[in-house]
C-alpha cells in the first residue's frame, strides 16, 4: 500500500514527478498551475534536485533542454499561453531526441484567454506542439490519482523514446483536491544514466554531442524514424477506458474532466433505460482509433463528443474513425465556464431520446 494523502491535483503532479525521478524543474508562473512550481520549489531541494524560476517560459524550457542533455529527469509546466511560448523549445527537445516532461494545465483560450479551466489545447497538444511536424505522447489523466500514475512513469516513456512527453490536464483537475495514493520513490543510480547523456558524473568520459540541427539526408532519416515510432505508439501504447460499450446505442467520447461529468450522466441515463456508453482516451496521442473504429455500428446510432471547449477539438479525430457510419454530435462549455452534471445529462438526453 502506498501513502494516502488528500492533495491538490497540481501538488500531486509535482510529488509524483519527484517520486518518478524528476530532479530538475524550471518554469514561469501562470494560473491555474502555480502550485506545481511552488511545490517543486521546496520539494526538489529536499531530494538533492534543483528548482529554477526562469526569467521567462522560453528560458525555462531551454534550461530543461540543458538538464535533459545531462541525463537528468527534467520537467517544466505551464498553461496554454505559456506552452505556446515554450513551443520552440519543445520542438528543439524533439529534434535533439531529449526526454523531458511538459505539463499543461489548460485554461480558456485563445490568447491570454481566461484564468478559469478549459480543455482548449487539444489541437495544440496533439497536432502541433511546435514547428516541424513532430509529436509527443500526450497523456490526459482524469483525476489526481491518475495524474500521479502518469507522472510517475512519464520519464520511462520519454527515455525509452528519447522524446518529450506531454501531460494535458485542465484547471479543474489542477485545482481539485482529492485522495491520492503515492507510490514509493524510484531510486535512480548514476549507472542508470542514459548512455547518450553528456554528463561526466560517475567518472564517465565525454559522450559526444547533442544537436537540434542536421544535414538534409540525416534529417530525413530522423523524420522517418520518428514516423515509425509514432506507428509503434499506435500499436503498443494506446491507453483507453471503455465503459459500458457492450450494448451501447450511443457512445460518448470524452477525456479528462469532461469524462467524469459524462460518466455521472451516463450512469443516470442508464437508470432511465438509455443504452449509453463511453470511450475515454487516456492517451490523446496515440489516439484510441481502434476503439472508435471497431464499434458495432449495427447497434451504435450516434457518437457524442463532449469537451470543455467550443467548438469541440477532438471531433475530427473521432469523425475519421466513425467514417460516416453514424452521426457525430458535440456538446461543450467554453471560455472558463465549466461543464456540470445537469448540463451534460440534458445534452446527452436530448440526443438519445430523439426528442421524446
Amino acid at each position: 500500500m502506498g501513502e494516502k494523502r488528500f492533495m491538490k491535483g497540481n501538488e500531486a503532479i509535482a510529488e509524483a514527478a519527484v517520486r518518478g525521478g524528476c530532479r530538475f524543474f524550471a518554469g514561469y508562473p501562470i494560473t491555474p498551475q502555480n502550485e506545481i512550481p511552488e511545490y517543486f520549489s521546496w520539494r526538489l531541494p529536499e531530494v538533492g534536485g534543483a528548482y529554477v524560476q526562469g526569467e521567462s517560459e522560453i528560458a525555462s524550457v531551454n534550461m530543461v533542454y540543458g538538464a535533459a542533455a545531462m541525463g537528468t529527469r527534467a520537467m517544466t509546466s505551464s498553461s496554454g499561453p505559456g506552452i505556446s511560448l515554450k513551443a520552440e523549445g519543445i520542438s528543439y527537445l524533439a529534434a535533439a531526441a531529449l526526454p523531458a516532461v511538459i505539463v499543461n494545465i489548460s485554461r480558456g483560450g485563445p490568447g491570454l484567454g481566461s484564468i478559469q479551466p478549459a480543455q482548449s489545447d487539444y489541437l495544440q497538444a496533439t497536432k502541433a506542439l511546435g514547428h516541424g511536424g513532430f509529436h509527443a505522447m500526450v497523456f490526459a489523466p482524469n483525476s489526481a490519482q491518475e495524474a500521479v500514475d502518469v507522472l510517475y512513469d512519464a520519464w520511462d516513456y520519454a527515455e525509452r523514446d528519447r522524446n518529450p512527453v506531454l501531460v494535458l490536464m485542465d484547471g479543474c483537475l489542477g485545482n481539485i483536491m482529492e485522495e491520492v495514493e503515492l507510490p514509493p520513490m524510484k531510486e535512480l543510480k548514476d549507472e542508470d544514466l542514459p548512455e547518450w547523456s553528456l554528463t561526466r558524473r560517475n567518472g564517465r568520459d565525454w559522450q559526444g554531442n547533442i544537436t537540434p540541427i542536421y544535414t538534409e539526408l540525416i534529417l530525413e532519416g530522423i523524420n522517418a524514424a520518428a514516423g515509425d515510432m509514432y506507428k509503434d505508439w499506435e500499436e503498443n501504447d494506446v491507453k483507453v477506458e471503455e465503459f459500458m460499450l457492450e450494448d451501447a446505442e450511443y457512445v460518448v467520447v470524452a477525456y479528462g474532466i469532461a469524462s467524469r461529468v459524462a460518466k455521472e450522466a451516463i450512469l443516470n441515463l442508464r437508470e432511465k433505460g438509455f443504452k449509453v456508453g463511453m470511450i475515454r482516451p487516456i492517451t490523446l496521442f496515440p489516439f484510441p482509433k481502434k476503439s472508435i473504429k471497431n464499434l458495432d455500428y449495427g447497434k451504435v446510432k450516434g457518437v457524442i463528443d463532449i469537451e470543455m471547449t467550443i467548438p469541440a477539438q477532438m471531433r475530427d479525430d473521432i469523425t475519421l474513425q466513425v467514417m460516416e457510419r453514424c452521426p457525430v454530435y458535440e456538446y461543450g462549455r467554453s471560455g472558463g465556464c465549466l461543464l456540470d452534471d445537469e448540463g451534460v445529462y440534458e445534452a446527452i438526453y436530448e440526443i438519445v431520446s430523439g426528442g421524446e
Partner: protein, 182 residues
C-alpha cells in the same frame, strides 16, 4: 450517501477554507471527498466559490450544478447561485449580508448572522467554522466528535486560545444547525 456543498461569497470570507476543512474532516472519517475551488483574478473581494462532494463511494463527477447544501455569504453569491439548491436541500444564508433569502419550495432555509456571530466569538476569521458547525448540526455528513478532533489536530501547534476560539465557533454553529435537524 452522497452530499454536495457549494460555498459561495467573496474572497476573504473564508469560503475556500470552509470547503477544505469540511472535505478534510470527511476524509479523516474515512469517507471520499472532492474539493474544487473557483475564483476570479482578484486577491481580495472578488467572487469565490468552492464545490465539495462527500460520499461513502468513490466520487465520479466533482461538478454538480445543483447541490444539496448551498452556502451563500453575500448578495452577489445569492443572486448568482441562489436557485442552485436541490429540493430537500439546505440554503444557508448569511443574514448580515443577505436581507431576504426567500422561501424556496422544499428547501430548508437557515438564515444566520454569520458575520456577527464570528465577531462575538472573537474573530471574523471564525466564520468558516461557524458555517461548518451549522451544517454538521443540520445534517449527518460529518460527526461532531470527529470534526472536533480534526480541529484539535489542526490547531495543536498554535496557542491554546486559538483552538478554544474555534471550538466556541463550532459550538455556536452546532447550536443553530441542530434546530433544523430532520
Amino acid at each position: 450517501m452522497k452530499q454536495s456543498f457549494v460555498f459561495s461569497g467573496s474572497g476573504g470570507q473564508g469560503i475556500m477554507s470552509a470547503g477544505i476543512t469540511l472535505a478534510q474532516a470527511a476524509i479523516d472519517m474515512g469517507k471520499h471527498a472532492t474539493y474544487l475551488p473557483e475564483y476570479g483574478p482578484e486577491q481580495r473581494g472578488g467572487s469565490a466559490k468552492c464545490t465539495v462532494v462527500i460520499s461513502d463511494e468513490p466520487i465520479i463527477s466533482p461538478l454538480p450544478k445543483f447541490c444539496d447544501n448551498l452556502i451563500v455569504m453575500n448578495e452577489l453569491a445569492f443572486a448568482k447561485y441562489g436557485e442552485d439548491v436541490k429540493e430537500g436541500g439546505i440554503l444557508l444564508s448569511n443574514a448580515c449580508r443577505i436581507a431576504d433569502p426567500g422561501e424556496p419550495e422544499n428547501v430548508t432555509v437557515i438564515s444566520a448572522p454569520v458575520d456577527d456571530l464570528a465577531l462575538e466569538v472573537g474573530n471574523p476569521k471564525t466564520a468558516n467554522i461557524i458555517l461548518i458547525g451549522i451544517l454538521i448540526g443540520a445534517t449527518d455528513i460529518v460527526s461532531e466528535d470527529a470534526f472536533r478532533l480534526s480541529l484539535e489536530e489542526k490547531f495543536k501547534a498554535k496557542k491554546p486560545e486559538i483552538l478554544e476560539m474555534n471550538l466556541r465557533a463550532l459550538a455556536k454553529g452546532l447550536e443553530i444547525g441542530k434546530k433544523y435537524k430532520k
